[in-house]
């Protein structure tokens, strides 16, 4: 699928000469604010969406925009600033007219992204992170953009360019220098392939027929929920919580005003399957959400779409609109939809016919981050029996509609409670639990959060029944898993395989040879050595939200460790001490190892800090952030040991280097001005 690049005003590439870019005119700011208010309303929880609108219009959030928002919504200036400083895609000073962000996952780096970045910066005469003096362009890195199967990739003003190489970089520099508007850039730059390399139970069937919803109208919520229960479907976002339990709990809770949220934040490095699902199977995902709303009795729904997938917004809005027109969203779903569905009216798949040709936008699924963080979710199930109350879920026609909320560059917002904070317009800081979202989530209302793939699977289970899903997989992990495969393999892309498939089988499928390590479930997941390839992808062995990154023999795994450690420092929300400070201490120690200055003592120290983070952090991010380090220390000790400066203790800083300033000031650089090493 090609991305629809809006015209000049929206991308900030208007006719104004870059050199005399004055502050945006107050009238324009007011206009943008008014338009956003008209579209989204004045509830304070919309403030983040308004800030994103300002950012998109001006490449930063102007002070006058903040003032306008504080005057019109019940939010303070400090709240706006707090959010702007939290989200990586929001800024208080202008970015370049062309704002270029290179994806900085290890899989991008393995394909030379750092060299390409250097090339681009040189060509453009710009320093990373600093807008060029004429305001034309800024270049920086960003966390994994979910294009690992067609890396290296970048975002320019929010739109994805994939398959970067030196030629592309040179051409991009020329396009920027000659101020070619984005919509006139070569369209194939913006092509994002789906790369569905293997379809199974779910992906094989592309037809949209809303049969899951028909089942709901014909058989009622109880019967469909019983099928989902029978299927044993577990959440695909990583934690693997039993979907039917969560839905039943929500259905049975007496409180009104329930909310259904589709977690499309897919920020786990190396995950991109949700991108493909939202591109090519959006109807099915939305059908799953609608089904869920019908069963639990929710009227309001959200898709929380990560900012990196902003290019999918128009497409998703179009799918929502089409479904509204068909009576599958909005008021009285089931009343007319029933007739529409029965008469066999095909809903159509809109713009996505390209899937089989492998052309279409992509994104990643967050994988392992959730594992520890979500263990506590299991407690919800304990509460379930206690709350067997009255059922007030709808079985007849029901009202339900969906809004899309954009994220703005924050991995933590994939964690369900941080996501809810973000939906409420705040910084994405994880909430304490209990209460669980399903009891008190969005605006304290019962909120059901599921992954994109979970909704899709639920829709198909409603159609085919519970046993259908159980026809594949293992006892504890029914059905199939959709995986995002990248790194050193011949055929990166999306693979749907039955749960229980071994790592080795998947490596064979994707054409990976002489494998040194596999990172399952993203930066937060598990690092497997070549001795562990018979382990199986299933909740009982290797739970995964979908990422599968392959590292060949030629790779230096310490580069992976450095990349992940930097990622977690960048993405820690900063709420709790162990993750906020511990992550930085770890990153610094890893850099110390990489520069050949570390000692055995430092390795011990890293273990200790990692253990602390795992045990004492507030949320799943901190719990899983040291995984890669602790596991490589255990399984690949030589990547550290061969770099140690001494077996004992070396200082954290280089004494001689610390004297550089003094040498410069005194104009000396003779041997006497250096410490003997």
């Amino acid at each position: 699928m090609h991305q629809v690049i809006p015209g000049a005003p929206a991308t900030g590439l208007g006719p104004a000469a870059p050199s005399d870019r004055p502050d945006p005119a107050p009238a324009r700011i007011a206009q943008v604010v008014e338009r956003s208010l008209a579209r989204l309303g004045r509830r304070p929880e919309q403030v983040l969406q308004h800030l994103i609108a300002l950012q998109q219009a001006f490449s930063f959030v102007p002070e006058a925009g903040i003032r306008a928002l504080t005057e019109r919504l019940d939010v303070t200036r400090a709240q706006c600033l707090a959010a702007i400083d939290f989200y990586a895609f929001l800024h208080r000073t202008p970015r370049g007219q062309y704002n270029i962000l290179l994806s900085d996952n290890i899989t991008d780096r393995m394909l030379g992204s750092q060299r390409l970045m250097q090339l681009l910066c040189e060509r453009l005469g710009v320093d990373p992170g600093v807008p060029r003096a004429d305001g034309r362009v800024s270049v920086d890195v960003t966390s994994c953009t979910g294009m690992c199967d067609q890396a290296p990739a970048l975002l320019v003003n929010g739109f994805a360019i994939t398959r970067l190489d030196e030629d592309r970089m040179r051409h991009i520099a020329a396009l920027v220098d000659t101020r070619v508007p984005l919509q006139h850039w070569p369209q194939d730059y913006f092509a994002v392939s789906n790369h569905v390399q293997r379809s199974g139970l779910l992906l094989r069937d592309l037809e949209v027929r809303d049969a899951g919803l028909s089942a709901l109208f014909e058989r009622g919520g109880d019967a469909v929920l019983a099928e989902i229960e029978r299927s044993g479907l577990r959440g695909r976002g990583g934690a693997g919580f039993t979907t039917a339990l969560k839905w039943r709990f929500c259905r049975e809770t007496g409180q009104p005003q329930k909310v259904v949220v589709c977690n499309a934040d897919e920020g786990e490095p190396g995950t991109f399957k949700d991108r493909v699902l939202l591109t090519a199977y959006a109807d099915l995902v939305i059908e799953g959400m609608t089904l869920c709303a019908g069963i639990v009795g929710a009227r309001e729904g959200f898709i929380y779409l990560r900012g990196e997938y902003r290019y999918l917004l128009e497409h998703l809005e179009a799918v929502l609109q089409r479904r509204r027109e068909l009576g599958l969203l909005g008021k009285q779903i089931g009343a007319s939809a029933r007739t529409a569905l029965r008469s066999g009216l095909s809903v159509g798949r809109g713009t996505d016919a390209g899937i089989n040709a492998g052309i279409g936008p992509d994104m990643d699924v967050i994988s392992g981050a959730a594992q520890t963080g979500d263990q506590t979710s299991n407690q919800t199930s304990n509460q379930t029996s206690a709350v067997r109350g009255r059922l007030d879920a709808v079985d007849g026609p029901f009202d339900f509609d969906i809004q899309i909320h954009l994220g703005a560059g924050a991995y933590i917002c994939g964690e369900e409670s941080a996501l809810i904070e973000s939906l409420e317009g705040k910084r994405g800081v994880t909430r304490k639990r209990p209460p669980f979202p399903v009891t008190a989530g969005y605006l304290n209302r019962p909120t059901l959060v599921n992954n994109v793939e979970t909704f899709l699977a639920a829709a198909r289970v409603a159609e085919h029944g519970g046993y259908w899903l159980r026809s594949e997989g293992t006892d504890l992990s029914a059905g199939s898993k959709i995986l995002s495969v990248s790194g050193d393999c011949a055929l990166p892309g999306v693979y749907e395989v039955p749960f229980g498939t071994s790592v080795r089988e998947l490596l064979d499928l994707c054409g990976a040879q002489s494998v040194q390590a596999v990172q399952v479930s993203g930066a937060a997941g598990s690092t497997l050595s070549a001795e562990e390839l018979d382990r199986v992808l299933a909740f009982e062995d290797l739970p995964t939200a979908g990422a599968f990154m392959v590292f060949g023999q030629q790779r230096d795994l310490l580069e992976m460790v450095r990349n992940f450690a930097g990622f977690f420092v960048h993405e820690s929300c900063g709420f709790c001490t162990p993750c906020r400070v511990g992550g930085v201490l770890l990153r610094d120690l890893i850099e110390k190892v990489a520069s050949g200055r570390a000692s055995a003592h430092d390795l011990e120290e890293m273990r200790r800090i990692g253990d602390l983070m795992r045990r004492a952090s507030h949320c799943g991010l901190g719990h899983t952030a040291p995984n890669h380090l602790l596991q490589t220390l255990e399984k690949f000790p030589w990547i550290y040991q061969t770099r140690l400066a001494s077996a004992e203790y070396t200082p954290a800083f280089d004494l001689d280097a610390a004297l550089a300033e003094a040498r410069r000031l005194s104009g000396r650089d003779d041997p006497g001005a250096h410490l003997a090493s």
């Binding site: 303070t76 304490k432 929300c573 900063g574 507030h618």
Partner: protein, 249 residues
């Protein structure tokens, strides 16, 4: 008399609790001290500092946010947990600029007092020496972010007790920092008043009251000589909020 919902055991000692109480609430009410910094009895539980970490059912949780439930076995004063707490405290020390001997809050500082209680002897980790601001624009108070530990007590007090929202935390990760809601971002231009609860709730020397000759009451605190301040004489585990709460109940 409050209804007792049940009892749990904290290091083997039976602790009664009422419906809705956390492990921390119940422990404090029973005059049993669990080290804590971001927790304050007058505020909603927060759970950010992690100093109150305890072990329940084989895993570590923050006692200030975990509901008490009947029959729970909670470990707190074990060597392993003490070591965790010390490491967390050391992280807080190296993250900011805490020069206790030169700090006006010394002896009355909860960070310092909890560190003494837990047996922290040195900061251990490499200091970050961050550059942070000092805001002296307010007539009655000074805000010195060098010592802020991001406990958000002031944020919560201003929002929930004073109903003003004067403080907020901005940014993320290590860049998280306290900001003030005012047109200039300065405390002097904010709505903070000396009578606000937020002005008196900081556990460390980040929000300090200014003093003038002849000040009495709280404001004369600094003239109490070092060595005679609350936690100089007795451990925070005996004279901190754990003691006040017992007096009240």
């Amino acid at each position: 008399m409050a209804i007792v919902e049940g009892r749990f055991r904290l290091d083997g000692v039976e602790i009664p609790f009422q419906p809705g109480q956390t492990i921390m609430d119940a422990a404090l009410a029973a005059a049993v001290y669990i080290p804590h910094l971001c927790h304050h009895p007058a505020l909603l539980p927060h759970g950010s500092c992690r100093v109150c970490v305890v072990r329940v059912n084989g895993r570590e949780v923050s006692s200030c946010t975990t509901p008490a439930t009947a029959g729970l076995e909670v470990e707190s004063e074990t060597e392993a947990l003490r070591a965790l707490r010390v490491a967390i405290l050391q992280m807080l020390f190296v993250e900011g600029n805490h020069v206790c001997p030169a700090c006006e809050r010394t002896g009355a500082c909860e960070l310092q007092a909890v560190a003494y209680h837990c047996g922290m002897l040195e900061p251990h980790f490499t200091h970050f020496f961050p550059r942070r601001e000092l805001d002296a624009s307010h007539p009655d108070l000074v805000l010195d972010l060098n010592r802020c530990i991001l406990c958000e007590r002031c944020v919560r007090a201003s929002r929930d007790l004073d109903r003003k929202r004067v403080f907020a935390v901005a940014g993320r990760g290590l860049d998280s920092h306290l900001i003030v809601d005012s047109p200039t971002g300065r405390l002097g231009d904010s709505r903070l008043e000396l009578t606000d609860q937020a002005a008196h709730i900081c556990p460390v020397g980040a929000i300090l009251l200014r003093q003038r000759a002849g000040d009495v009451g709280e404001r004369h605190g600094f003239r109490v000589p070092i060595g005679e301040r609350p936690y100089d004489r007795e451990s925070i585990s005996r004279v901190g909020d754990v003691a006040t709460l017992v007096e009240e109940s």
